[in-house]
Symmetry: C2
Subunit: 331 residues, 2 copies
């Protein structure tokens, strides 16, 4: 992944990027797809793209959708798309699945419900693996969100297909995070992966027509009541849905609106977005350093590693020198 | 984990370190324990310690011991200790177990065989969790090896109790890596974790008195024969052991000596040590950057994160500025 300075971008490439960005703004799905591929592949145009998009972003409501396998994440996502489309909003979906062999915008095979939106040019659905992205999801996810945001999506849904730690982290950096549960999944709320319950702004009990719904809701209420929070802070509500029949989805959308209004009013909206930006800048800084060590400063790293091996330099001094060298403006 | 410059170490602390290092050289186990705790906790004295030890290291033969749970890693380690002690050598053991609650030199409960060495001051055995170490095992392991090496250990055994990726990587950076297998563990060599077979310099078929030994050895032979290597390159031998009865251990020690002699002769010994030093310097550089971002340059990171959130600066430009600021000698 070479990393040219913005001015290094040839004029025709910059022009091409401008055309793509303009096309994405007018809902051309293929243009959006190409821009997200630039993110996913960490291609040389990425830096120029991010610089171009920066002023145009921050409008979309980013909604994380997470929960254990089988709770109905993709059905819920599909019905949320339909609900937002019924309001005339433009919707983007990023499905993160580190184990998926499908990338480049391929839909997962079992997402029949999402395919109803496949011909709607106001909906953009993309499966992202981000395995090729050195910085991982912590860098790729906010960059892809930025593309959809700049492309005019009013809502961006981040669906975590995988249940790895990085997917949970991505869901946790959304403006609003839905944690889905379903009755009959074994040990009630214990079935949720550790760390998932803590990030929920809204708990969705899906498949709420099944046995065990009441006891699951009681468990959740107890957990929510026990959490230590300010009286003025957002208290995660519980929404019951049967996503396969679109039941409860209007209530869920209304609750998402309430969460947004509450968070905007008490400042937590901007604080969380600051946290998301900080995490992205931090990950990207480490990524840039690693890349420079490997590419431009390989000789320095090799020489110092040899000195450390032979006991001429200690490892901390070597690390200091690498850090100084990599960022030396004279170099 | 604060990070003072070496000159920031108060004189009495530097003196204390000198006393500890001198005591460790004369086999005082408590001194060795305190030095490894400095590594494990990433304490402020670590930098000074590494600088002090650097010239004294590189002598010990570092041997990785890895394999699936149940193959007999700790029994093999214990019998290897006995064999090296019988030759009059000093032995250090680091057992890496990320899931272990035992640190600070505690022995794992089931290591009865290792306890026979507990009173031998020429043997130092330590369980390390390295969870508290921000750089993870890739930084903590070579630092702990350096302590044992400087303390006069002729052999340092790295036993990977856990089977996580980082344990496999640590075993793979040893001078000689033993991959242990045992018959009757299910699917033969398939039972070994992915990536483990590739790092073996010597394959140890332990519990070789059991059914299935022959077919396991045949499988290994086929695999070794299929690997693409130079005619002059080291071809991993297969050693049969019954570690619980100390059978085959002399053969294993002789094979380890052969591997060392071969690697020293063909240059791979120094190349692998260079790779180990490079990986350590690289991990430590990233660790130092992360620490500086969090500690000394938090304001810069926060300001830039805010600018990214608000679309005033793109994330790449922000990352460039953080990298420049963190390493600015004027700062």
């Amino acid at each position: 992944m070479p990393e040219p300075a913005p001015e290094g971008l040839a004029d025709e490439r910059a022009d091409e990027l401008a055309v793509l960005v303009a096309a994405a703004r007018t809902c051309r799905p293929r243009a959006v797809a190409r821009l997200i591929s630039i993110v996913e592949n960490g291609s040389p145009a990425l830096r120029g793209l991010m610089s171009r998009l920066a002023p145009d972003t921050g409008r979309a409501h980013v909604i994380g959708v997470t929960g254990a396998p089988g709770v109905g994440k993709s059905t819920t996502t599909a019905t949320l798309i339909a609900a937002y489309r019924a309001r005339g909003l433009r919707v983007g979906v990023l499905a993160f699945d580190p184990s998926s062999p499908f990338t480049g915008g391929a839909l997962l095979g079992d997402r029949v419900r999402m395919q109803q939106h496949a011909l709607d040019d106001q909906v953009y659905i993309r499966s992202m693996a981000a395995r090729g992205h050195l910085g991982g999801l912590s860098v790729a996810a906010p960059q892809a969100v930025r593309v959809l945001d700049a492309a005019g999506c009013d809502v961006v849904l981040l669906e975590t297909v995988g249940v790895g730690q990085s997917e949970v982290e991505v869901a946790g950096t959304a403006d609003s995070t839905l944690v889905l549960l379903a009755p009959g999944m074994g040990d009630g709320i214990q079935a949720a992966k550790a760390g998932v319950l803590e990030i929920g702004d809204i708990f969705v009990v899906n498949k709420a027509d099944r046995d065990g719904t009441q006891s699951l809701i009681r468990e959740l209420r107890t957990m929510i009541a026990m959490a230590d929070r300010d009286a003025a802070a957002w208290k995660p509500p519980i929404v019951r849905t049967v996503a396969s029949r679109e039941e409860g989805i209007d209530d869920l959308v209304a609750t998402l609106d309430k969460h947004r209004a509450h968070a905007e009013a008490d400042g937590s909206w901007q604080r969380r977005r600051l946290e998301r930006a900080r995490s992205e800048v931090e990950s990207l800084t480490l990524l840039l350093l690693r890349r420079r060590m490997h590419d431009d400063h390989r000789t320095v790293l090799d020489d110092l590693a040899e000195a450390v091996r032979d006991g001429r330099v200690d490892s901390f001094t070597a690390a200091d020198r690498v850090l100084g060298d990599v960022t030396d403006p004279k170099a």
